[in-house]
């Protein structure tokens, strides 16, 4: 039992450290970009500009929110199939975004895209299902 728990703790720490390093690097850039003289190199501006043109970003953000923080307690489809569906949908939306030229996505469409992504992440790509 002790060997298993120490292995699990080690594995947990490796993943946590890796995630923290990546997020810290992004955070450091954000601090730098807030204080430098140049404009529009902040993460929030870049994301905002992207979301004005691509549905992909709001959709994926919604999926991430539903998947990471929520999750339906019943498994509607198998977890591997849900990953495949998310990947296929993402590629399709990216393809659609690049084919259709647009100047600006309206706010209500962004909300809709976020909401659909969120519901998808919560109901389809759930990690919270009771086995």
């Amino acid at each position: 039992m002790e060997n298993i728990s120490s292995t699990l703790i080690h594995g947990h720490l490796v993943v946590s450290c890796f995630t923290l390093i990546v997020l810290t690097l992004i955070g450091l850039w954000e601090i730098y970009s807030n204080f430098n003289k140049e404009k529009e190199d902040n993460l929030n501006i870049i994301m905002y500009r992207w979301s004005e043109k691509y549905y992909f970003l709001s959709f994926i953000w919604g999926i991430i929110g539903g998947h990471l923080f929520f999750g339906f307690s019943k498994l509607l489809i198998s977890s591997y199939l849900s990953i495949v569906i998310v990947a296929v949908l993402s590629v399709l939306i990216l393809f659609f975004d690049h084919r259709v030229k647009r100047t600006q996505i309206k706010t209500y469409k962004k909300v809709l895209s976020l909401l659909i992504g969120f519901l998808f992440g919560h109901y389809v790509w759930t990690m919270n299902a009771i086995v």
């Binding site: 947990h12 404009k39 929520f70 962004k110 919270n128 009771i130």
Partner: protein, 195 residues
């Protein structure tokens, strides 16, 4: 009157490339961690960080509004220092509250029915298999006194962990609070041209 906006292409391009690479690396790493049994995945670590780190839910809500629906500076004027102070205060409060409500028990100190009795209305008890982090129905567990751990009633040796977690409704409320915080605390960094 149109404001001339000084756009830096170079910095923004470098950051965009770095950000895309970082996201791809995180995704590939998560898939690799999924394939190696002794490692947890990034997704599971974030999910199980609740309720101690419920501040992440609030932060996610804040980032959502900040990225996709930022408020124009001209609507409400807030100093950057005020935004930072308020955000840090809220984050610290949420961290304290999260750590105060966490509770994990082994069955030597509490059997499942009495553990379930003490659950406040905003929390729920979750039961997870210790190694693979699979969620199970708590009613299928029994206490293995010698090991001071919960195992399945069918006699399986896999140990389970009982802990409190926030109800989904409470997590949703926290995220909505994050949306509202993100809108009122952080404004758009540049003003749109007014025509």
């Amino acid at each position: 009157m149109k404001k001339k906006i000084n756009i830096s292409r170079r910095n923004a391009t470098i950051f965009k490339q770095f950000f895309i690479i970082a996201m791809v690396v995180m995704t590939v790493a998560d898939l690799l961690f999924l394939a190696i049994p002794k490692y947890s995945t990034i997704s599971k670590i974030v999910l199980y960080s609740s309720p101690q780190y419920m501040v992440f839910i609030w932060l996610f809500g804040m980032m959502t509004t900040n990225f996709f629906f930022p408020r124009k500076k001209s609507i409400i004027k807030i100093k950057k220092s005020t935004s930072i102070v308020v955000s840090v205060c809220i984050a610290i409060i949420l961290l304290f509250v999260g750590h105060a409500i966490v509770e994990e028990k082994n069955c030597a100190s509490a059997d499942f029915p009495s553990f379930k009795k003490g659950v406040p209305y905003y929390m729920e008890v979750t039961c997870r298999e210790y190694e693979e982090n699979i969620r199970v129905d708590c009613n299928t567990l029994k206490c293995k006194q010698q090991a001071q751990a919960y195992i399945l009633k069918d006699g399986s040796d896999k140990t389970h962990q009982l802990r409190y977690d926030l109800r989904l409704e409470m997590k949703l409320i926290l995220m909505i609070f994050g949306f509202i915080s993100g809108y009122f605390i952080w404004s758009q960094s540049i003003e749109e041209n007014i025509t």
